[in-house]
Symmetry: C2
Subunit: 353 residues, 2 copies
Amino acid sequence: MATKKVLDEKALGERAQYFLKVLIERYIAEGLPVGSRTLARDAGLDLSPATIRNVMADLEDMGLITSPHTSAGRVPTISGYRLFVDSLLTVKPLAELEIGQLREQLDLEQEPSDLMESASRLLSGLTRMAGVVMLPRRDRIAFRQIEFLPLSGSRVLAILVTSEEEVHNRIIHAKRVYSRAELEQAANYLNRTFTGQTLEAMRQRLFQDMQKARADLDRIMARAVEMAGQVFGNESGDSDGDCLISGQTNLMDFDELADMALLRQLFDAFAEKHEILHLLDQCMQADGIQIFIGEESGYRQLDNCSVVTAPYEIDNEVAGVLGVIGPTRMAYDRVIPIVDVTAKLLGAALKRR
Amino acid sequence: MATKKVLDEKALGERAQYFLKVLIERYIAEGLPVGSRTLARDAGLDLSPATIRNVMADLEDMGLITSPHTSAGRVPTISGYRLFVDSLLTVKPLAELEIGQLREQLDLEQEPSDLMESASRLLSGLTRMAGVVMLPRRDRIAFRQIEFLPLSGSRVLAILVTSEEEVHNRIIHAKRVYSRAELEQAANYLNRTFTGQTLEAMRQRLFQDMQKARADLDRIMARAVEMAGQVFGNESGDSDGDCLISGQTNLMDFDELADMALLRQLFDAFAEKHEILHLLDQCMQADGIQIFIGEESGYRQLDNCSVVTAPYEIDNEVAGVLGVIGPTRMAYDRVIPIVDVTAKLLGAALKRR
DNA sequence: CATTAGCACTCCAGGCACGGGAGTGCTAAC
DNA sequence: GTTAGCACTCCCGTGCCTGGAGTGCTAATG
């Protein structure tokens, strides 16, 4: 009766919560189903296995743990992990020393793209899982400078420099051969007009201009707008964002991911990047650490995986997301601070430039 | 006695060779050890299994086949495959239709880098194994144009355009702030001096100039040389070449590569790229199709794999290498023409620009 | 002398039974 | 509420067996 009542109220006894915590910690550490005897020993309280069993039965009723088969121990379910992560977990902050080392590593890099690469590697190296860093989104990056260089024929090389001092280039096909001076004029116009705006804003404005074909656009402006339009047109076409993934092979060492067919799907997702990006994109909204456990992510390829992400900021504005992908059974208490700190350090390192 | 004699002379009877061929073909098709009965049937000649057994024993003595255990059929060894590939194999050329489709696919791409990507994907797609394309080596690429753009502070953006219309950029740190005009002067000097030379030649000349600090270099030239030196210095530092690998996950479906530990090493090699590149580099020398079977490559990670490569040419000069990586037991008769044709088509497509 | 049939032998794979170990749920007693 | 006891379930490793596939050797054959 009493337990029934507790169940109905969905109020989970404090002691039961504690047991859940210990059980999950044990399971994360060992990877084996945890039985009542083990749990009784681990819990520290002086209780007999039989007592524990009662509690475990309750936890199972609530869908927080299950047993793989009749006479195995218990294993956390997705909801079990969820509860654990949300309210039971005690994260141990990284030691100052470790933070220092992290910062040092990131400081070595000069170019922003190397920085991202480096961050991704650090994540995977520290966690022995897969690290992922989403490059800053276009709508958060400010335009700094554009230049056009004539190539052979009517081809023009467009060079786009962003405030992060990242450089992109793209070859566009002009309608006729332009002189170096003409191209410079066009670039000047664009630079004057758009400096400081985000790329996304710039893009929108450009397309507006192109469609309206405004009367107040003189020939130079029109030409400039048209060429810049090509730059953005192509860019938006092939990819709305990109990310760097490293340490994927680390995942091959986990036996919960040993199924080759599933592992292949996972690796395909990594190669494709598209879905991973989509997932990371969602994490931009909710600021702070975001965790997807198992099927929560909504991507079948990630069913046996958890994803821990944190957004990183430039000038107090969320610019992108980074994170770690590993098996559901991962050391959340370690991974979370690592992801957290790396995000902060990456933001700081990016700002410095 | 007689057989002994044959062995000593290392002359392999014609019939034995034929059996070896049939055996390997069968093994490649089925993946199972081939027994005498099966081979007798497959060979078409009207011979009893017992006869076949005698021949097989000879083949085993010569190290061309082995049996996994006493009562299994026979499986080709590395040397067996070698002999097969070198002198027994009958490659069936690709149908015109297939070649047409391949060409079409490659023609879609505009930028050379996309072309490489596309070629790699085609290789992996057609063979259901991993495709790899080595980017043209620097010492084969001709310099076309260099430009410098001032960035914030004393940073300068260097843009390098090669004859393949491929664009590279690199941020360099100048000793002081240069004006746009000064940078243009420097670029002009370099463009005048080096157009048409290979990057490697240019690099060497630049470093000579820098060390000699020749009296006949006026200030502009010296400045230009110094900045260009930085461009090349960095570039040579981080990588001497690069390659694109795709379809790696295809390899996860082969059960001869099912061992997770070995597979991981293989994938690590793919991520590292360094050793793969080294291997491909060797294939540049020997023109024509090159095949490494199993341990022949000399890289432990590739022990269970074969690599089929072909160099591709631009203007009748070998520019790079592409190929396919798969399990030792692969359909060489199919893979070889695919690699061959792709190399030719890629060369042609690159020339067209 | 190459070819072949016959035969004993080896080895693997799969099925089956068995027993121990680990863990559970239930009940009754404290 | 906690606990001991007990019957029960299930996995897993082991040993055993059997059928099948294939081999090597030997002796007979054209």
